[in-house]
């Protein structure tokens, strides 16, 4: 079992993610340089947070054309596990691996704070250790996290239970006050139809050690590791 963390020019959460996987979860992990046209022998790929290509044009708009993204798309189409965190989520939307787009925050501010997100779907490789309705305290740090999609796509996400995380109060109640950025229906994370590609704006890798204020985020990495272990056993 091996994780891969993609490094784009401007990624800045690549080392945090690598650290959590290797030191907290205790799993093998490699960096994957954006110029590589293969993801090597990795069994799960993470697109980390940051500001790839300086967010020029639109967030994630240039990174999606990196050679590595061809390999990531191919990997995802074979059922490979792909998770995009923050800028990684933006890149997955731009690349068409997830529907919708992340718009400028409604209040136009860059927001860096702990938020609560409620787990809406546990039947994904990224949340199978969670309880439905479980509330995780995880930080956000973004200027463009306002999730948008058309009404038809939204209905499809709802019908197929693909809204994986929603911003909520600490007690799990959904309201406008706990929606930091104006996202449609408090959406903090979604998955694709096949459920092997996840994107989320909050940063679980920044909340995986109690020393950093919360270790709620590590359950996502543990879920992924469990999934990979089961896949390895089955093959």
């Amino acid at each position: 079992m091996k994780f891969g963390v993609v490094m784009f020019p401007g990624s800045n959460c690549d080392h945090d993610t690598y650290h959590v996987i290797s030191k907290v979860i205790g799993q093998p992990v490699d960096f994957i340089w954006h110029r590589q046209s293969s993801i090597g022998d990795c069994d799960a790929v993470i697109l980390p947070g940051g500001f790839s290509y300086g967010d020029y044009l639109r967030t994630g708009a240039i990174a999606r054309f990196s050679p590595v993204m061809g390999a990531v798309k191919e990997f995802a189409s074979r059922g490979g596990l792909v998770m995009g965190i923050c800028n990684g989520f933006q890149i997955l939307c731009e690349a068409g691996l997830l529907p919708g787009a992340l718009l400028r925050n409604k209040n136009l501010r860059f927001i860096c704070e702990h938020v609560n997100m409620r787990v809406e779907a546990t039947d994904t490789p990224f949340t199978n250790r969670c309880q439905r309705g479980q509330v995780l305290s995880v930080p956000i740090a973004h200027g463009d996290g306002n999730y948008f999609c058309d009404q038809e796509t939204l209905r499809e996400l709802q019908r197929e239970n693909r809204i994986v995380f929603r911003y909520s109060r600490e007690d799990g109640v959904l309201d406008d006050a706990s929606n930091p950025n104006g996202s449609l229906e408090n959406i903090a994370g979604i998955c694709n139809r096949e459920r092997n590609v996840l994107g989320l704006m909050p940063h679980p890798e920044r909340a995986s050690e109690a020393l950093l204020g919360s270790n709620d985020g590590r359950i996502i990495f543990y879920s992924l590791a469990d999934t990979l272990a089961e896949l390895a056993k089955a093959s």
Binding site: F65, E94, G100, A101, L108, N146, D150
Partner: protein, 83 residues
């Protein structure tokens, strides 16, 4: 030959930046403004010898695939041979 590409948010997409600008111009005294929508403008210079037909095809494709995100944006292309 030059191409001009205008990229704007679809009418159905909220534009908080446009709203902030609208609010600001009203605050400093501009009246009669109903709405402000912010967009992007690109000028592309084409290499000598590219035909107008090829230029339009290239720029249209570039606008669709790169400059605009069709999920949230629309675009309009003008070639200076149009005028």
């Amino acid at each position: 030959m030059k191409a001009k590409i205008y990229v704007t948010l679809k009418p159905s997409v909220l534009d908080p930046q446009g709203k902030a600008i609208h609010h600001a111009v009203e605050t400093i005294g501009y009246s009669g403004i109903d709405d402000v929508r912010q967009g992007k403008y690109f000028e592309v210079t084409l290499a000598d010898g590219v035909s107008a037909v090829d230029a339009r095809a290239t720029i249209e494709r570039m606008a669709r695939e790169v400059l605009a995100n069709p999920v949230i944006e629309e675009y309009r292309v003008e070639l200076d041979s149009d005028s």
